[in-house]
């Protein structure tokens, strides 16, 4: 009998469980390295060369170069680790979170000021599948 993963039917959400953590180990550890200012400088000076120092997959490296946070999360990244990339770029957490929603920065900020995204219609996968 496998592990119970009731969280898999929540739309637009990836739970960072042991399986994701295993996939993303070096991606996330690369992110941790950006907590040192000298590493942030080296990364920004030559992103490709810095990434090649880490045992990451080609897809993970490309995802970092593209700053594609949704892709990186699907490849095992966790938002608290990935946030170090955004911090290196001088982005706020709101800019990072908004970048994953398909909304513009202004629209996302306006949604939050208006009270945020309602849970209604956003609780179960089937609620999203109906829309498409």
């Amino acid at each position: 009998m496998g592990l119970d993963k009731p969280y898999l039917d929540i739309p637009g959400t990836t739970i960072f469980d042991a399986e994701q953590s295993r996939k993303g180990y070096w991606l996330n550890q690369f992110c941790m390295s950006l907590m040192k200012p000298e590493n942030r400088e080296r990364f920004l000076a030559d992103e490709g060369a810095y990434l090649d120092e880490w045992d990451m997959t080609g897809d993970q490296k490309q995802g970092v170069l593209d700053r594609d946070l949704n892709r990186l999360i699907s490849l095992g990244g966790n938002i608290y680790f990935l946030a170090k990339i955004g911090a290196t770029d001088g982005l706020s957490f709101q800019q990072m979170a908004g970048s994953m929603t398909g909304m513009s920065e202004q629209d996302y900020r306006a949604m939050m000021v208006a009270g945020g995204r309602s849970p209604d219609g956003n609780r179960y996968l089937h609620e999203w599948e109906k829309e498409t």
């Binding site: 009731p6 969280y7 929540i10 739309p11 637009g12 959400t13 990836t14 739970i15 960072f16 469980d17 042991a18 953590s21 993303g24 180990y25 996330n28 550890q29 992110c31 941790m32 950006l34 907590m35 040192k36 200012p37 942030r40 946070l69 949704n70 999360i73 966790n78 938002i79 608290y80 680790f81 946030a83 170090k84 955004g86 911090a87 290196t88 706020s92 957490f93 709101q94 990072m96 979170a97 908004g98 994953m100 929603t101 398909g102 996302y108 949604m111 939050m112 000021v113 009270g115 945020g116 995204r117 309602s118 849970p119 956003n122 609780r123 179960y124």
Partner: protein, 283 residues
């Protein structure tokens, strides 16, 4: 003689709140209502400063990466430096610990079957420093020692609500057995509803948050039975941080046969960046 829980305090620990304080933006229209909401608590805290705070928070991939992931970690060191989370360290005082009480709690709580990780060296991130800034402002030094108590809520599975409440009760028993009269506050931080990742980012659930506050005050045991998936589905993937509030709640007298707590302050505000902010002071 024993150490006594004189209050429990609950608050979100949104990093943008720390940025607003550090950059003197607290009077801006976006932030003013939030900081006004904490003002009565700051006044109350100034009149009721404890001897030591046990501050329950989560590390956000700062002191703990993926190399070591402790479920419950108690800071037993004398000092805890402020972490550089990628933006540079926050310009706030270092945190002074309370090694004697921390070691006592570690020994007592481990002997009550909670396998704490003992941490003598770690930097502390916004999860710990933003609550201190919210309640104490910008002092030269924090007004009392703080014992950092870190909970893993980053990699699933995080500890259950039931386990967190029971841990709080174990901490209370440890304090009861301490042979020096200390006034202790226990703070539970994180939450409320928020999701920082994926296409569902920005989720806020006022109704859930309001019920959570009601139940935390009046029915913590019932609340502690809520499964993880309900937190995530209803309050967002990062709303799971709210389980940590149950550790602080578990230290209160009513769970050891005493009277129900008094609500000194209750406040709720949306948004701070991506997050619903909730705050309680219970005595």
């Amino acid at each position: 003689m024993s150490a006594t829980v004189t209050a429990t305090v609950y608050t979100s620990h949104v990093p943008a709140i720390g940025v607003a304080i550090d950059l003197d933006k607290t009077d801006e229209p976006y932030w003013q209502p939030l900081f006004a909401g904490y003002e009565p608590s700051r006044q109350w805290m100034a009149d009721n400063t404890p001897d030591v705070i046990i501050l329950v928070y989560n590390d956000h991939a700062t002191a703990f990466g993926l190399d070591v992931i402790p479920t419950f970690a108690i800071g037993t060191g004398a000092r805890f430096p402020i972490a550089d989370e990628g933006w540079g360290p926050r310009p706030v005082p270092e945190v002074e610990g309370h090694p004697v009480l921390a070691a006592h709690i570690a020994q007592s709580v481990i002997q009550q079957d909670f396998d704490l990780t003992i941490v003598n060296e770690m930097a502390v991130d916004h999860g710990l420093t933003v609550p201190l800034s919210l309640l104490f402002g910008q002092p030269e030094a924090w007004p009392c020692p703080v014992i950092p108590f870190a909970v893993n809520v980053v990699q699933y599975p995080v500890p259950s609500g039931r386990r967190c409440l029971a841990l709080g009760r174990a901490i209370r028993r440890a304090l009861d057995a301490y042979d020096e009269p200390l006034r202790v506050q226990v703070w539970g931080t994180g939450g409320m509803s928020h999701q920082l990742q994926g296409p569902r980012a920005g989720l806020i659930n006022r109704e859930f948050d309001s019920q959570f506050l009601d139940r935390l005050i009046a029915d913590p045991t019932g609340l502690s039975e809520m499964p993880h998936v309900d937190y995530v589905r209803e309050a967002g993937s990062e709303g799971i941080e709210l389980v940590m509030w149950l550790i602080a709640r578990g230290t209160m007298a009513d769970l050891a046969g005493g009277p129900a707590p008094t609500v000194r302050r209750r406040f709720y505000h949306v948004p701070a960046s991506n997050t619903a902010v909730g705050h309680l002071v219970l005595t």
